[in-house]
Subunit: 411 residues, 2 copies
C-alpha cells in the first residue's frame, strides 16, 4: 500500500526531472520525464516509505540522518534542488497539501513562543557547545548572513562588511546607547562599541552565548561600555537611541509580531532608529520546514513581507528603507559548510554520524531555500520620525563608508 502511495506522490510531483528510486525489496522505479536532471536514491527500510508518504519533507531529512535513505551518484544539493523544483512545478497529493495547510494555520495561532518556551527553543540550538560553532563560523562568530560586496571576499571580510553596513544604517553617533536584541556571541555589540564609540546592551536567551559574550567584552576591555544580559525582549526596560536585531525575528513567532514591533517603538527615543535584519520570503506565506522546526529551530518561522508589514505599521514605526539581500545567505552557508567539512576530523571526535548528517542536511536545505526557493534576507530600517534618517540613501554608499569611522581615520 505505502509503495503505491509513494508512486502516486512521486508521479504527480516529478514533472521536470527524473528521480530513480531503489526500494528495500530490490525493486527499482523511475519517476518523471527523461528531459531534465536525473537523481537517484535508495530506500533501505520499509518504514521510510511510509514516513515519506505521510510527511515527505520531514521524513526525507530524517531518513537522510538515519541512513535509511542514501544517495547514489547524486549529491545532496542536487537532490534537494531537483525535489524542490519539481514540488513547485508539479502536483502534490491532497493529503500532503492539506497537512501543510493545517500546520501553517495552526502555527499562525499557537506559535506564541512564551518567554519560557522561547528560552527552551534557543537553548535547543544555540546552547550546543560553542566549540561546534567555532569550527564553522568566522572568527567573530557571526551566525547570520554575511554581505558579499565583492564575490571574491572571504567570509571574515563579508561579515565585517555586514556589520559596517548595519552600523551605517543605524546612523550612530558617539555616546549613543544601542540595544542589540538577540546578540549572539556578542560580535556585533563589541564591534559597535569599539569602532563607533557607543554603549551597547546586548540581550540573548542562550546561556552559552551570554558567557562567551561577557568573556569577550572583558578580554577586549569593553565591559564598561558593553553589557550582556540573559533577557527576553519582552522584559527589557529603558529607552535606547538605537535598536539592532539580527537574525532574531525568525524566532519571534507570528502571533508575537505586533508585540515585537511595538516593543521596538516603545524602547526607542523619539529620534530613535532600528535596524531589523531577518530572513523573509519574497513569496506568499508557507509553513516552515517541519524538519528544521524539529531538529534545528524549534519555534522558528520565515515570514513573508505581507506578514511583517501590518505589525510594523500598527506599531507606529516609519519604514525608512527596506533592503533585500538575495543569494548572500547561500554564499554564507556555503562558506560555513566548507569550514565544517574542513574540520570534519575534529567534528567526528565530538559527534556521532547522525549529528553530522543532521548538520549537513541543515546546510543543504538552507542553501537550497536561498538558491531555489523564495528566501532572502530583509533589512528593515525603522524610525519613529520620518526625518531621523537622511532623505536619500547616499550616506550608505559614500566610499569608504564601508569602514567604520575609527578605522577610516587611522588608515
Amino acid at each position: 500500500m505505502w509503495k503505491g502511495l509513494l508512486d502516486q506522490l512521486l508521479n504527480g510531483m516529478m514533472v521536470r526531472d527524473r528521480l530513480l528510486v531503489r526500494f528495500p525489496d530490490g525493486d527499482s522505479r523511475h519517476y518523471g520525464p527523461d528531459i531534465g536532471e536525473t537523481v537517484q536514491i535508495a530506500i533501505n527500510d520499509p518504514a521510510t516509505i511510509r514516513a515519506l508518504c505521510l510527511h515527505p519533507e520531514l521524513a526525507l531529512g530524517e531518513a537522510f540522518m538515519d541512513g535509511s535513505l542514501v544517495l547514489i551518484d547524486t549529491n545532496l544539493d542536487d537532490l534537494l534542488r531537483v525535489l524542490l523544483r519539481n514540488r513547485d512545478a508539479g502536483d502534490m497529493p491532497a493529503w500532503v497539501v492539506s497537512s501543510d495547510r493545517f500546520r501553517y494555520h495552526l502555527r499562525r495561532i499557537v506559535q506564541r513562543n512564551s518567554p519560557v518556551r522561547a528560552r527552551a527553543n534557543v537553548a535547543h540550538h544555540y546552547d550546543m557547545s560553542d566549540e561546534l560553532y567555532r569550527l564553522f563560523l568566522d572568527t567573530d562568530m557571526q551566525y547570520s548572513c554575511a554581505y558579499f560586496t565583492d564575490p571574491k571576499m572571504s567570509l571574515e571580510a563579508a561579515q565585517e562588511a555586514k556589520k559596517a553596513h548595519i552600523a551605517a544604517k543605524l546612523c550612530l553617533e558617539p555616546g549613543q546607547h544601542v540595544l542589540d536584541i538577540g546578540c549572539g556571541w556578542g560580535g556585533l555589540a563589541l564591534t559597535l562599541a569599539r569602532d563607533y564609540d557607543v554603549r551597547v546592551t546586548g540581550i540573548t536567551l542562550s546561556e552559552n552565548q551570554l558567557r562567551t559574550a561577557r568573556t569577550r567584552a572583558e578580554a577586549e576591555g569593553l565591559s564598561d561600555r558593553v553589557q550582556f544580559f540573559l533577557e527576553d525582549y519582552r522584559d527589557t526596560q529603558g529607552i535606547f537611541d538605537r535598536i539592532v536585531s539580527v537574525g532574531m525575528l525568525e524566532h519571534v513567532g507570528l502571533p508575537n509580531f505586533d508585540t515585537y514591533f511595538t516593543r521596538l517603538h516603545d524602547l526607542l527615543t523619539p529620534d530613535g532608529i532600528a535596524l531589523i535584519h531577518a530572513i523573509g520570503r519574497s513569496a506568499p506565506p508557507m509553513p516552515h520546514s517541519a524538519w528544521l522546526n524539529k531538529y534545528i529551530f524549534p519555534g522558528g518561522y520565515v515570514p513573508s513581507l505581507s506578514e511583517i508589514a501590518g505589525p510594523m505599521e500598527r506599531a507606529g514605526l516609519w519604514q525608512s528603507d527596506i533592503e533585500i539581500w538575495r543569494l548572500h545567505y547561500a554564499r554564507t552557508l556555503r562558506a560555513w559548510r566548507k569550514r565544517f567539512e574542513a574540520n570534519s576530523d575534529k567534528l567526528r571526535e565530538m559527534y556521532d554520524d547522525r549529528f553530522l548528517a543532521m548538520f549537513r542536511y541543515y546546510f543543504a536545505i538552507c542553501i537550497a531555500s536561498f538558491e531555489h526557493q523564495a528566501q532572502a534576507v530583509y533589512q528593515f530600517q525603522l524610525a519613529r520620525k520620518r526625518d531621523s534618517v537622511p532623505l536619500t540613501r547616499d550616506y550608505l554608499y559614500r566610499h569608504p563608508s564601508r569602514l567604520p569611522p575609527q578605522r577610516a581615520t587611522t588608515s
Copy 2:
C-alpha cells in the same frame, strides 16, 4: 442642533492646539487648550456647520473652495497641520469614525475601476488643459515626486535626478524594450529613449497626454523608438524587458492590485525588471481623502505596504529593493505651488476663484499629508528572477551614476 454637534466634535478633537471659530450668527467660540498653536476660521453660512458635522474632511475643503469658510490671520498650511495633528491625537465622534470605516470597507470591495471607469477617472483630472499643468510643473512636465538629492536643487534638476534614479534601478541596456504604464506627457519615456538608447512603449488613458506625448516624440525625432497609445494596462499585449510605472498604482484601486502585479509579471521577459513608483502610507490603511476623491482623483487610493505586499508576492515577483522617499513629495508640491502662485495672473484669466481655491486646497492637503501624516513615496524594484538585479545596491550610487550614460560620456 448642528452647532451643538460641531461643539462636541471639536471639543473631542482639539486636544493639542486651539481653534477659534466665528459663527454666522456672530458668536465666537474656542476649542482646545491654550498650549499649542492657535488658528482661527470664520463660518459664513449655517449649511456649512451642518456639512462639517456630517462629513468634516469633505466639507472643510468644499467650504474653503466656496468661501463659506474663511481663514482669519491663519494660512491654510497651518490650519491643516493643526487639524490633522489634533484629529490624530484626539477623539473623533463615533458617527465620523464609523462613516470613515464604512467608506474604507466599501472601497475595498467596489473600487474596481473598470476600464471605462478608469478612463473617466483619468479624464477628470489629467484632461484639464495642458496649459494649466505647464503653469506649475517643470519644463519636462513630470507630474510626480521629484528627487532632491541636494536640498538646494531646482525642481528641474530634482526631476532629472528622479528620472536618472529610476533609469538606474531599471538596469537598462541599449536596445531593450521598455513599457511605461501611465506615461503622462511622455517625459520619462522620451528621456529613457534619448539617453539610454532603449525603445519605449508608453500607455496612458488621457487623450491630452497622448496628443502632447506624440507631438513631443515627433519634435524630438524619437518617433521611431518611442510609441504612445491610449491603452489600459489590462489590455496591453507583448513582452517587455523592463516595465516602469510612475504615479499610477494610486489609480489602480485595491480590488485590482492582484491583476496589476500579475500583469507586470506576465508582460516581463524572464530576465525582466520592473520599477513601480507610487505614493504609499507607512501606517495602517485608512480611507482616502473624500475631498481628493471627489475633486481631484476619482477612484484614487493611497495604499499601505501591508496592502501591496500580498499582491506582489502572489504575482510571483521578487522584491529586489524597496526605497521609501520621505518629504521629497512635500518639497515637490511646494515648488509646484510656488510656480502656480507666480502664474496666478494668467490662471485668473483661465479659471474662476472656486477652481483656483480648489487647486490651492489640493496642494495644501497633499503637502500636509506628506509632512504631517504617514504618506511617502515607495519605489518597488521587482524582478522575475532573484539575480536579475545586482546583489548589492552599489550600482545605484556609483558617482556620477546620476548622469545617464550618454551625458556622462559626452561631458
